[in-house]
């Protein structure tokens, strides 16, 4: 993992704390393999809130248009944190 990935990952973790609360995330070590549904038990509306924060932080890079196009809700929720950070990083490259 590059330092740039660490930066995006740290930002995503910070946003997750804002969306779901710090108490819950104390029990979970968030890494690239963490899934939004299975590991974080994120609700779909919370994923929307996360998406909004990514867009506010990264602009078009944080937008999910390219990432989630063609995915249904289950596929989106089964993504990993790494899928998300890679998307932001790839758009940045």
């Amino acid at each position: 993992m590059t330092s740039a990935d660490d930066g995006v990952l740290a930002e995503v973790v910070r946003m997750l704390v804002e969306v779901v609360g710090e108490d819950f995330l104390l029990d979970v070590q968030v890494g690239p393999d963490t899934t939004f549904n299975g590991d974080l038990a994120l609700e779909s509306i919370e994923f929307v809130a996360l998406a909004e924060k990514l867009r506010a932080r990264y602009g078009d890079r944080g937008d999910f248009a390219g990432l989630v196009a063609g995915m249904d809700l289950d596929q989106i929720m089964n993504m990993t944190v790494g899928d998300l950070t890679q998307h932001v990083e790839a758009a940045h490259a």
């Binding site: 038990a41 509306i45 249904d72 809700l73």
Partner: protein, 318 residues
């Protein structure tokens, strides 16, 4: 713009700009007029704007409309108030939110389930502000008071019971428990902590005489096996500019389970009535012509839905 305060209540709002998610993201619509605004209104208690965020909103915005989604009060991430959960208040909330967003002209409303009740009431209260209605599995239209809310309230009760049951079951799965637990907490807060159930029980149906006054075009989509499908039939019989599409094999959950077919019906209809485009991927030999003149009230002859019929005539009902 994730939050808007309207009528003293904090609402969670999400928007998608026109052509967001379209190939290249560039405007493809002929003409230079402002993008039409399409507002999505979700269903009750366990529902929220995410139902549209992941299904219809992006294809609609990619077709050239500005998509607006919001959580009804007490739902999703909007503020929960003790009172004000009836359809009339919800319609006032809707226009107040649009005002805060700077949308003061006519909009197209898309309502799912109870969201259809809100959309119908909004169109009747402010016909000058509603250019078109897309009603998906909408409650609301009925001949008599009482009969129409029974199914909705029963369904709500079943949902609450299911949540309670699943919450216990999911205690075995700690991570799954969090989602169910939060949904159950939302349901409990609304059902036991607010006037919601009283407000719903007090709602009048939208009767045929009122439906007949709707001047905007209406697209009604219902599942073949839905327990609400009679409302669709009543809409077709009563609304002058109504088109009814029955989705074979589907029930009340068609928004999530039949998204693709729903879009195949919605996007040509929006193209016809709002001037959006029809993406090539959803264009079929049966689809209405894209970019048809918005002034025309008649869908293209090849449209994949039943044509409007005169009031009180059952002909054409599918």
């Amino acid at each position: 713009m994730p939050e808007v305060t309207a009528r003293g209540v904090r609402f969670h709002v999400q928007t998608m700009d026109a052509w967001e998610g379209s190939p290249g993201g560039a405007p493809r619509r002929a003409g230079a007029g402002p993008a039409p605004v399409v507002v999505f209104v979700h269903g009750l208690v366990t529902d929220n704007l995410s139902s549209f965020y992941y299904s219809l909103a992006r294809p609609v915005s990619a077709a050239g409309a500005h998509a607006v989604m919001y959580d009804l009060r007490g739902h999703g991430r909007s503020e929960c108030t003790a009172t004000g959960h009836g359809a009339a208040d919800a319609a006032r909330d809707l226009f107040a939110i649009l005002g805060e967003l700077g949308h003061h002209g006519p909009v197209h409303l898309v309502g799912n389930s109870y969201g259809g009740v809100v959309a119908l009431n909004a169109a009747l209260a402010r016909p000058d502000r509603v250019a078109g209605l897309i009603l998906i599995e909408a409650y609301g239209p009925a001949e008599h008071a009482g009969e129409w809310t029974e199914g909705m309230l029963n369904s709500l009760g079943r949902t609450a019971l299911a949540l309670e049951y699943e919450r216990q079951a999911d205690q075995l799965l700690a991570m799954g428990w969090r989602q169910r637990g939060r949904q159950a907490a939302t349901a409990d807060a609304l059902i036991n902590g607010t006037s919601l159930m009283e407000d719903l029980a007090a709602l009048d149906p939208v009767r045929p005489a009122d439906l007949a006054t709707l001047s905007c075009p209406v697209l009604a989509v219902y599942g073949e096996h839905s327990d609400v499908v009679d409302a669709g039939t009543l809409l077709l019989r009563s609304v002058p500019g109504c088109t009814l599409h029955i989705m074979a094999g589907h029930a009340h959950t068609l928004l999530r389970e039949g998204t693709e077919e729903l879009l195949e019906v919605m996007l040509p209809w929006l193209s016809h009535h709002a001037g959006t485009t029809v993406p090539a991927a959803t264009r079929s030999p049966h689809a209405a012509r894209p970019a048809a003149p918005a002034a025309s009230a008649e869908p293209a002859p090849s449209a994949p839905f039943a044509p409007p019929v005169p009031p009180a005539s059952p002909a054409g009902v599918r």
